[in-house]
């Protein structure tokens, strides 16, 4: 019996090659897309699960107010909390990641990222050592851990353990351990770990065990099983908050515990480690994978019904000869399963072929190894589900034919059937319209980000961080830069206004509500800053020679508003920041100093002639010669360090890399989904035309023109597109607004976006359909009428 079914399926397959290829192609592309997306989703959701203690580790995060939640907490607090909260067995501090100049046998490398970590780093986290002793590796301040990759880079094939590394031309460290490379799905990414004990020699936060300066990432390990529900977390968080309130009554800061596994996806915190994901995208993509698979299944259903007229006879006959309905259902399900498994094989091939490109697109190192049992199970599950879903409708539909009806004459399809099939088509159109609107809105928003006027001119700004000897030679740097006309337009600042992570509550002005607690980010600049960045003053003047001594302050318009002033009245008012009383001498027009996800907060600017970054504005088209001039200056003043420079606009673009990437992936899959839908639509229009072959013949004999016939055949689809359009609009509106909410600065969805998506789908649908209807209406009527 099975052999007979396979034979029939196979001969049908061969005989109707075109249909079969549409079917196979649609399913294979759909499956391949889903597999790729699911690999990505799986990877995104697997972050930090490789730690043995991943369920018991939480990160301490700080909440200043609704708008400012940060991933960092105070050094002293992280250290001391475990002594006061019994559920916590140990804590770990990590510094912010940094870059350093590394010297090995007179060879210099710039290495990043590097962390300072407490000595229990290898104990809390699961980063296995290849060489060295995990318990003592971070015990001494001059030890250093490096990853296998880094060891190979530094020492080649030589044994790295015990070798020495000189860092920043100062201290010498001994390699005490070589770690296996950090898995890509770790939120901590680093090449080297230096003991916190080293930093503790100089860092004030660590020496004084402070509770009021937020500069470290703190991790707590809980007793096994101490945290089994969200309630437990809330209780411990409450305890921590009480301890803090008692210790620092002047601050109204609360804390939160963030599960280690949530850090990658569910973190919307500021001052966080770079490279975290977004649970919204994971959800969107997961749904997208499902939708693409459904679209492919709908194709199969539609194409199978398209062939039902041909297969009805077989069904009738089999029934007369002795087949039961169940046997027929099995036969058709078997056929769809066969197709879906062949598609799976094709899909696996496609995935293999396109995985490198996809990895490139998504900036991932996804693996697709067929040696993995789980992978096999999921692949088979996908094929099985696809086969069953796509086969269910044709199987039930075809097996329900009454033999006498199909054997005697034409197949009349019930109304229910038509409704169901139209429902399928509408679903596909809805998906297409949604994806198109999504594509357009994402494109608009990304474009908006790229071209948004940030309040300053970001072009041709080259910046060079202070390194090595340069820290002590800023006067010399200043004069060298100003002497060369290429570099004379420069400013020295403490932070770039691209993603400012400073903030302080210690600010007072006349009439400030004593209960209010406003966080003021601050930026320390020299006198040239406003000119170099071409920022505009709403009122007043910029810093002058005496500004530093007089504690002159510049504020932005938002700050003026918060202080109860406006640009006019703020001028000359007194202001005390970190205990320094001074005067507001100017109000700067608001500019974006954080990524556009965040609204513009108040900002305070102070004047110092020393800073950590030199920013040089190159004149247009002189970038290369400017860099050459910089190389010259820096090489002379700071010969131990190679010049490292970057572009401000490049940094700004890099902030939205995640969004850009998601946008591109979304576009690719949207196009593929629409393409798959078109394949199905083509099949369906063939079906409709086949159904009406005789009608078309009669109409032609009676004098209908080809144009009228094409009209008639396309009209039905027009209706479906319209219904789909109506359904899609509210869904798209809701979904896209949710995405746009991620950005404090975003585009509004214009009405024409909906219309454009609607018309595009209409156009695609009509051109697909008319291919068939034109062919039918041009065919000779004699043929169709004789076929009876």
């Amino acid at each position: 019996m099975l052999k007979n079914h396979i034979k029939i399926a196979w001969r049908n397959f061969i005989q109707h090659k075109w249909y079969s290829l549409l079917n196979l192609g649609g399913l294979a592309i759909g499956m391949a897309c889903s597999i790729l997306i699911l690999l990505w989703v799986q990877n995104e959701s697997s972050y930090d699960t490789f730690h043995t203690n991943s369920d018991d580790i939480y990160r301490l995060t700080a909440i200043a107010n609704e708008d400012f939640k940060a991933a960092v907490s105070p050094a002293g607090m992280i250290e001391q909390i475990p002594h006061q909260v019994s559920e916590i067995t140990s804590s770990l501090r990590l510094s912010a990641p940094f870059e350093a100049l590394v010297e090995i046998d007179n060879q210099k490398f710039k290495e990043e990222p590097i962390f300072y970590a407490d000595s229990n780093f290898l104990d809390m986290f699961t980063f296995p050592l290849i060489e060295g002793n995990a318990t003592t590796a971070l015990a001494k301040p001059d030890g250093i851990l490096i990853t296998e990759k880094t060891a190979k880079k530094f020492f080649g094939s030589e044994k790295a353990l015990g070798k020495t590394i000189k860092i920043d031309n100062r201290d010498i460290f001994t390699v005490t351990g070589v770690m296996a490379d950090v898995p890509p799905n770790s939120h901590l990414q680093f090449n080297m770990i230096i003991p916190m004990a080293y930093l503790a020699k100089t860092d004030n936060d660590l020496i004084n065990k402070v509770w009021d300066s937020f500069n470290f990432y703190g991790y707590f390990q809980f007793e096994k099983g101490a945290i089994s529900s969200q309630d437990d977390v809330t209780i411990v968080t409450e305890k921590i908050n009480q301890i803090y309130a008692k210790r620092q009554p002047e601050f109204v800061i609360t804390f939160n515990l963030q599960a280690l596994k949530d850090i990658h996806l569910k973190s919307n915190l500021q001052i966080d480690l770079p490279g975290h994901g977004n649970v919204l995208y994971v959800n969107i993509f997961f749904i997208a994978a499902f939708i693409i698979l459904i679209v492919a299944c709908i194709n199969y259903m539609n194409l199978a019904t398209a062939r039902s007229a041909r297969r009805a006879k077989e069904v009738g006959l089999r029934k007369v000869i002795g087949a039961g309905r169940r046997q027929l259902i099995f036969q058709f399900l078997g056929e769809s399963l066969m197709i879906s498994f062949i598609s799976l094989i094709l899909a696996v091939g496609i995935v293999y072929l396109f995985l490198p490109a996809f990895n490139n697109l998504a900036q991932k190192e996804l693996l697709f190894s067929l040696g993995n049992n789980n992978l096999w199970i999921s692949l088979l599950a996908i094929a099985l589900i696809t086969g069953l879903i796509s086969g269910s409708y044709p199987a039930l539909f075809l097996s329900g034919f009454k033999p006498i009806k199909v054997l005697k004459g034409r197949l009349k399809l019930s109304k229910y059937n038509l409704v169901f099939r139209n429902g399928l088509v509408i679903t596909q159109f809805v998906v297409s319209v949604l994806l198109l609107i999504g594509t357009m809105v994402i494109y608009n928003q990304l474009n908006f980000i790229k071209n948004k006027n940030l309040g300053y001119d970001k072009s041709n700004l080259i910046y060079v961080p202070m390194e090595g000897e340069m820290w002590g030679k800023q006067e010399a740097l200043r004069s060298a830069l100003s002497q060369n006309p290429l570099t004379s337009d420069f400013s020295i600042v403490t932070d770039l206004p691209t993603n400012l992570i400073t903030g302080d509550f210690d600010i007072h002005w006349d009439g400030k509500d004593p209960d209010s607690q406003v966080l003021f980010p601050n930026l320390v600049t020299d006198q040239n800053f406003l000119d170099v960045f071409q920022m505009k003053l709403a009122n007043g003047r910029g810093f002058s020679k005496t500004s530093s001594k007089n504690n002159d302050y510049l504020i932005n318009e938002t700050a003026a508003g918060i202080m109860g002033y406006n640009a006019e009245t703020a001028l000359g008012k007194s202001l005390t920041f970190r205990g320094d009383k001074g005067t507001i001498i100017g109000v700067v027009k608001d500019f974006n100093y954080k990524p556009l996800q965040y609204a513009i907060e108040p900002l305070l600017m102070q004047n110092r002639e020393f800073g950590s970054i030199a920013v040089i504005k190159a004149a247009p088209k002189t970038t290369e010669s400017t860099i050459a001039a910089l190389e010259n200056i820096y090489g002379r003043l700071n010969p131990a360090y190679p010049l490292s420079y970057n572009f401000v606009d490049g940094d700004l673009d890099a902030q939205y890399l995640g969004e850009q990437r998601m946008g591109t992936i979304f576009n690719v899959f949207a196009l593929l989904a629409i393409f798959i839908s078109c394949m199905g639509l083509y099949g369906l229009s063939a079906f409709m035309t086949e159904q009406r072959f005789k009608e078309i013949g009669i109409r032609k004999v009676l004098g209908a023109s080809a144009v009228r016939l094409v009209n008639m055949l396309s009209k039905d689809f027009l209706k479906l597109v319209f219904i789909a359009f109506i359904i899609a609009i509210p869904i798209a509106w809701f979904g896209m607004n949710k995405w746009l909410q991620e950005f404090a600065f975003h585009v509004e969805i214009q009405w024409w976006v909906y219309l454009a998506a609607g018309f595009t789908v209409l156009f695609i649908a009509l051109s697909t359909v008319s291919f068939q209807s034109i062919r039918a209406s041009l065919a000779s009527p004699v043929k169709s009428l004789r076929a009876e």
């Binding site: 019996m1 007979n4 034979k7 029939i8 001969r11 049908n12 005989q15 006879k313 077989e314 009738g316 006959l317 089999r318 029934k319 007369v320 000869i321 002795g322 087949a323 039961g324 046997q327 033999p403 006498i404 054997l407 005697k408």
Partner: protein, 220 residues
């Protein structure tokens, strides 16, 4: 007695009017009979044949088939009954285009769950009996109409039914082919198979042992 129809009525309602397709049909068929049903177009010949074949239902009356009361049977039992005892031959042959002659013959046996070796023997036997051994690997499209109908009859016979129902079996054939088919029916009847055929042709009807004439759904 093979089957018995008592006061069979079948109708459709159209625009508030009841149109009778079959009206008070009473018919007894003994085993071994060869019956021809005749009548003009629309007189209900095919409908009657379908009712006898249990492919179609009826609205009133009683139908006994080998001591089973068909009118009170559920759809599924009814289907089992016809699958076991009745073979169908169609005007347009209704062979499966995707299957070869051999495979077409084998199909009913698959549904009756015969073993592979048995199926082979029965198919070989049938090919032999109808002299189409040489055609066993051809597809229906490669055969003439007469040959296709031959395969159709062979397929109807392969599971040894008690009754063959033939709806204008020669309707699509030329006269010579038709004659051959009718001869075959005669021969089968002589071997003991009960046959009921619907036909337009007086000449073909003569092959039967009894002729039933229908007019507007009534037996005349």
């Amino acid at each position: 007695m093979l089957l018995q129809l008592n006061n069979i009525f079948k109708w459709v309602n159209s625009g508030g009017q009841r149109i009778f397709l079959l009206k008070d049909i009473n018919l007894n068929v003994e085993e071994g009979e060869f019956i021809s049903i005749m009548g003009p177009s629309g007189s209900g010949k095919s409908t009657l044949l379908n009712v006898i074949g249990m492919l179609d239902g009826f609205d009133e009356g009683e139908y006994h088939f080998l001591h089973e009361s068909v009118h009170s049977l559920k759809e599924k039992h009814r289907a089992n009954l016809y699958k076991e005892y009745i073979g169908f031959v169609f005007q347009s042959y209704h062979l499966l285009d995707e299957l070869t002659v051999k495979e077409n013959l084998e199909m009913p046996l698959l549904y009756k769950k015969f073993k592979g070796s048995e199926r082979k023997a029965m198919v070989a036997d049938m090919l032999d009996r109808f002299n189409i051994v040489g055609k066993k690997d051809l597809f229906p499209a490669q055969l003439s109409g007469g040959q296709q109908q031959l395969v159709g009859i062979a397929r109807a016979l392969i599971s040894s039914p008690k009754l063959i129902l033939a709806d204008e079996p020669t309707g699509n054939l030329n006269s010579k082919q038709g004659e051959e088919i009718m001869e075959l029916f005669k021969q089968l009847n002589d071997e003991g198979v009960t046959i009921i055929q619907v036909t337009h042709s007086e000449k073909n009807a003569e092959y039967g042992s009894r002729i039933i004439n229908l007019l507007d759904g009534r037996m005349v």
